[in-house]
Structures are given as C-alpha cells and as structure tokens.
C-alpha cells in the first residue's frame, strides 16, 4: 500500500516490538475472559445451576408433555426442573424433581403437586403448592402427594358441555316464551280477578241460604225431597248396573279386538309407505337393469370378439414354443342341449 507521497505504508503492528505484541495479545485474551466471567455472573440459569437443590419424588398417573426440561414451580415461582422420570413396577410415573434449596423451604408436609397445562401454547409445568407454616418442611427425596387438577382440554370439554346445556336451556325457554302471548296473560289476570269477585258474592249467598246451593245446605224440606229422589235414582242405577255387567263381556271382547286391530294398523301406514318406496326403487332399478340388459348381448359379443383377438395373439406367440402343436383345439357346438318336451 502507498500513500500520496509515494511511500509505502505498513501496518502499525509491524512497528511494534515483539514483547509489545505479546502484551497486546495478552490484553485481548484477558479481556475476553473477563467478559465471559461477567456474562456467567449475570446469567440466571447458570447462577441457579450452581445453587444447592433438594430432590423430591412426584408420582404421576401420566406424564403427558413432561420432559427433562419441564419447569417446576413452587408457590407460583419457578423453583427447579425435572431431573428424570421412569415407569414404576405398579405402572405409575415416578418423576424426580430438583427444587432449589431456598424454594424447598416452602414445601411442607401438606404441600401438593400437580401438572398444569392451562395454556395450550406452552409446555406443561409441575406445580407444587406452598405448605402451611405450621407443618414441618418436607425432607429431601420424600414423595410430594399429587392431586388431580383440571387441565386445559378437560376444562374446555367441561365448558363445552356446560355451554351446550345452556344453549339447550335457552332454546327451551325461547320456545316457551314464544308460545306465551302477553295478551293472554292479561286476560288470565282479569279473569282471575272476576272469578275471585264471583266467589266472594257466591259465598255470601250460600251463607244466607239463597240460591240452589244455599237452599241445599239450609232448607230441610228440600233435603227430604232430595233423599226420595236419590232413592229412585239408586234403584235405576242398580238395574242399569245389571245391564252394564252383561255388556261388560261384550265390551271386553271388543276391546281386545280393538287392541289387536290397533297394533296391527299402527304399523300399516309405515309399512305401506316403505312398500311404496321399495316398489319405486325396485322399479327404477329394474328399468336401469332392463336398459342395460338390452345392451348386454352387444357387449357380450364385443367382449368375445376382443377375447378372440387376444386369443389369436396368444396363439401367435405360442407358435414360437415347441409344444404349440400339442395345444387342444376347441370343440364346436351348434345346437343347444336337448330339452325334454313340455318343460
């Protein structure tokens, strides 16, 4: 490289002594190390990786979505992660979790664990509830009892059922309210008022012995006449009863007959409808079949011609084979099989 005056320019590094160059490199290396350590220091995960942890066991009925990266939350705070999981002999899933020591303090004997997957867009987590302060801390490698909490799909399924029920109920209410005419309600209320007025007047008249009911309840001569009339009516009813007894058998027989006819007739309209439909379909089918059958002989003939040509080709191919002369020749039949007379 040359400058404006025509002299060649060299890089400044070539102007440094060897020891100066070594120092410069050392500065860069040390600077890089400092930056790396600073980054490690500010990285939360790395910091946490070096913190003391407490291991617990959680036995889950299933491990849907659980991986070694699944986060563990204690009292809502991220407190650790899954270390491993395995299927036990009794077909449960044993999940080993690591919880940082400071968060483990919140895990007590009454703490519970569950899988939470409320957000379908995020992987599930293992949640551990905060224990009561009165309970002692759960020791390391102890089992945290698991409770069944609704996950998002289950909640959604339940919600859908509830929404469906609500929809049905609303539909029914809608039908009910649609069937009621507000004018009718007004009329019913007016009728009720009128009826209550009449009842009041009627009870007054009965109490004073007025009208038929009043006479019936308070007039003694009417009572005697009524007793006599009832006696006559009683004798008439007895003779009627005797006739009715005779008729009963007839009615019973008629009733049985009616029942039988009714049950027989009940299915008749449906049967007729099905029969009509069946006949229609059958007719259509037969028409189609009929039209196709008319084409059938032609189709058979053409197929046979095609087969014949194919046969000719095969025979031509077989001509190259030494045993072609031994192939059996087809027999020819001219007439149909003999039929007996009058069949």
């Amino acid at each position: 490289m040359a400058d404006a005056s025509g002299r060649t320019r060299v890089h400044y590094i070539h102007g440094l002594s060897y020891s100066a160059r070594e120092r410069l490199v050392g500065v860069f290396v040390l600077g890089a190390l400092v930056i790396l350590l600073a980054m490690v220091a500010v990285s939360k995960d790395l910091v946490q990786a070096f913190q003391d942890t407490v291991q617990y066991n959680v036995f889950l009925p299933n491990a849907t979505g659980i991986t070694n990266d699944t986060k563990v939350f204690v009292a809502g705070f991220e407190a650790g992660e899954v270390v491993s999981f395995e299927v036990t002999d009794d077909q449960r899933i044993r999940v080993v979790i690591n919880v940082r020591e400071e968060s483990a303090k919140a895990i007590r004997f009454d703490s519970e664990a569950w899988i939470e997957s409320l957000n379908p867009l995020q992987p599930p987590t293992i949640q551990v509830s905060q224990g009561s302060a009165s309970e002692p801390p759960l020791p390391a490698e102890a089992n945290i009892p698991v409770v069944d909490r609704l996950d998002f799909p289950e909640m959604l399924a339940n919600l859908m059922g509830a929404v469906r029920n609500l929809n049905d109920t609303l539909n029914q209410v809608n039908l009910l309210t649609g069937a009621v005419d507000p004018a009718d309600i007004g009329k019913v209320a007016a009728n009720l008022a009128t009826t209550s007025e009449h009842l009041a007047a009627l009870s007054g008249q009965v109490a004073s012995g007025q009208g038929s009911l009043g006479t019936l309840l308070f007039d003694e001569s009417f009572e005697q006449e009524l007793v006599s009339a009832m006696g006559t009516l009683n004798s008439t009813l007895r003779s009627t009863q005797a006739r009715m007894d005779q008729l009963e058998n007839v009615f019973n027989a008629a009733e049985q007959l009616t029942d039988q006819s009714s049950s027989a007739l009940a299915g008749l309209p449906e049967l007729l409808q099905q029969t009509t439909s069946l006949i229609g379909q059958l007719n259509q089918t037969m028409l189609t079949v009929n039209s196709e059958m008319e084409q059938f002989p032609d189709l058979v003939l053409r197929t046979r011609l095609l087969m014949e040509q194919m046969d000719e080709t095969l025979l031509a191919i077989q001509n190259t084979w030494p045993i072609s002369d031994n192939l059996p020749q087809p027999t020819q039949q001219e007439l149909v099989e003999l039929a007996p007379p009058n069949d």
């Binding site: 037969m286 058979v300 000719e312 191919i317 149909v336 099989e337 003999l338 007379p341």
Partner: protein, 321 residues
C-alpha cells in the same frame, strides 16, 4: 474412410436372433372372418341359454342367424333358427316356434342337411303337441325316430314325448311307457329323470291318484332343484298347483304359483307367467283376496297384450304381492 466394426460372426448372430423372435410377433393376427363372428355370437347365445337367460340367448341367436345369412351359410342359419325355436318352445311361444321351425325345415330340405333332420323333427313334434295337433305331433315323432340313428339321448326324449302324447290320448296306454321310462332314468337325478317323474305325476292325476301324484311331484321337484333346471322347476310347481286346484286347496295353489311365477319372471317368460297369474287370480278370489286378484289380472292382461313387455314394470307391479 472408417471401417465398419461389424464382423461376420456378429451379423450371423443378429440374423439368428431375428429368425428366432421374428416368427411370433412379426406378423399381425389376421382380421376376423364372418364365420368367426357368427360362431362367436352363437357361442355366446349357447352360454346364455345354458344359464337359462333366454332373453339374451334369443337376441344372440338372432344376431348369429343374421351373420350366417350374410355369407349364406345354410347350416349355421339352420342351427341359429333351431336354437331360437327351442327357446320359443320353452317359453310357450308356439306360433313363433312354428314359424322358425318351418324356415329351418326349408333350409334342411333344400341343402340336404341330414344331421339336423332328427332333431328338427323332434322339435316340430313338440311344437305340434303344444299347438294341440296330436296327429301332426305323432307324425313328426315317427319321422324323428326314423332319423334318430344311434343318438341315445334323442331316443329317450322321443320316448318321453311319445309317452306324453299317449297320456293325453289314453292314460291307460301310457302306463307301461311311463314305467319303462322310470326304469331307464332311475338314479340319474337330472332334468330328464325329473321330467319322467312329472310324467308319472301327470299319469297319476289322470288316473285320479292324488297321493301318487304328490309323491311324483316331490321327486320331480327335488331332481329339478338338484339340477337347477329353471323351466322344469316352474313347470312342476304349475302341475302341483293344478293338482291342488282340483282339491280346492286355494292357499296351496297360491303358494306354488307364486313360486312358479318367480322363476318364470326371471326367465322373462311371457306366456307361462300370464297363465300362472290367471290361476293365481282365481285362487285369490276364492280366498276372498279380491284386490290382489284384480292386481294379478291387470298384469296378466298386460302380458297378453300386443305391446313389447316392460319386464321391469311387471316385476315392480308384482313386487308388492
């Protein structure tokens, strides 16, 4: 100039290979001759006939007749006409059968087609019997016997026909013939044996022996069913129905005719179906089923009309019953 690399051994090898493989594929198959087309059509008709698909078989025999006629093959034309006439006889189309047999007779006589003579005479005898001309039937039967030669199956058929003719003329004279036929067909269990059993039933009916007739009909139906011979199955049910009709067992008549009609309908048999419907209507009237009887009469009248039969319509009309 560059010299060719093909040497004599290479050339010889190529010639040998061409000779080996050129023979089969080098020459295209020759176009079909008219006789091949006619023969194929005839074969298709024979196949349809074997399956009792008489409607298709009729069309195919008709077409093969036209093909044979197109190059003036009298033997082929005769065979096609006789095959078509056989279907007519089975379907009860007596007039049409007579017309075709007459055409066949002309060809046989003109071109001295002796190998058709016996069979043609047998068919003419059957046609005459169906037409009610017993005398002509007898004459044709004798002509067939004279020409039959050593054809055992044809001889058996001729004896069957002779017994049938005798039965209708004088049942007493037919008794010995029927007994002989029973001996000859014993253990065969085929359609011919079944026909002999049916002949025995006819004889028993003529001699007023209903129990014997019933026994013979059962045997006939069993043989026909074993042979899956549709025309015979239908004919047996029809004879059975006639036996029960004489006893005024109308429910039995209706049952057997319904079964016969099902078979006849499958074969698109116009004449027998109409006849069966007529008797079935009578049975239903006797049973108090007037509406059904009228429905059957309507279909019967349609089948006996002049128009071509729409079998889809017929089957649909009868499907509800």
């Amino acid at each position: 100039m560059k010299r060719s690399t093909l040497t004599l051994p290479y050339l010889l090898a190529m010639l040998v290979l061409a000779g080996c493989f050129g023979g089969g594929g080098g020459e295209p198959a020759p176009p079909m001759r008219p006789s091949d087309i006619a023969r194929d059509t005839m074969d298709a008709g024979l196949e349809a006939f074997g399956q009792h698909n008489f409607a298709n078989a009729s069309l195919l025999f008709e077409r093969s007749y036209q093909e044979f006629r197109s190059y003036d093959d009298a033997a082929g034309m005769t065979a096609a006409l006789m095959n078509r006439a056989e279907i007519d006889l089975l379907m009860g189309e007596t007039v049409a059968a007579g017309r075709r047999l007459a055409s066949a007779r002309t060809l046989v006589d003109r071109d001295a087609l002796a190998h058709f003579a016996a069979r043609l005479s047998y068919m003419e005898a059957r046609q005459a019997q169906q037409a009610g001309d017993a005398e002509a039937a007898g004459a044709r039967l004798e002509a067939a016997r004279a020409a039959a030669g050593s054809d055992d199956q044809l001889a058996l058929m001729l004896d069957l026909l002779a017994a049938d003719l005798a039965l209708h003329a004088d049942p007493a004279t037919a008794e010995a013939q029927v007994a002989t036929l029973l001996d000859r067909t014993e253990g065969r269990g085929d359609a011919t044996a079944a026909r002999v059993q049916r002949l025995r039933a006819d004889l028993a009916i003529a001699q007023d022996q209903p129990a014997e007739a019933l026994d013979a009909l059962r045997a006939a139906l069993a043989d026909y069913q074993a042979a899956e011979y549709r025309p015979g199955i239908a004919a047996t049910h029809e004879t059975w129905a006639m036996l029960l009709r004489a006893q005024e067992d109308w429910a039995g008549v209706a049952d057997h005719l319904t079964r016969a009609i099902a078979v006849r309908l499958w074969m698109s048999d116009r004449v027998h179906t109409a006849s069966d419907l007529d008797t079935l209507a009578e049975a239903n009237s006797a049973l108090g089923q007037e509406e059904r009887a009228n429905a059957f009469r309507r279909v019967r009248d349609y089948l006996r009309g002049d128009s071509d039969v729409d079998w889809g319509r017929v089957r649909a009309s009868l499907a509800g019953y």
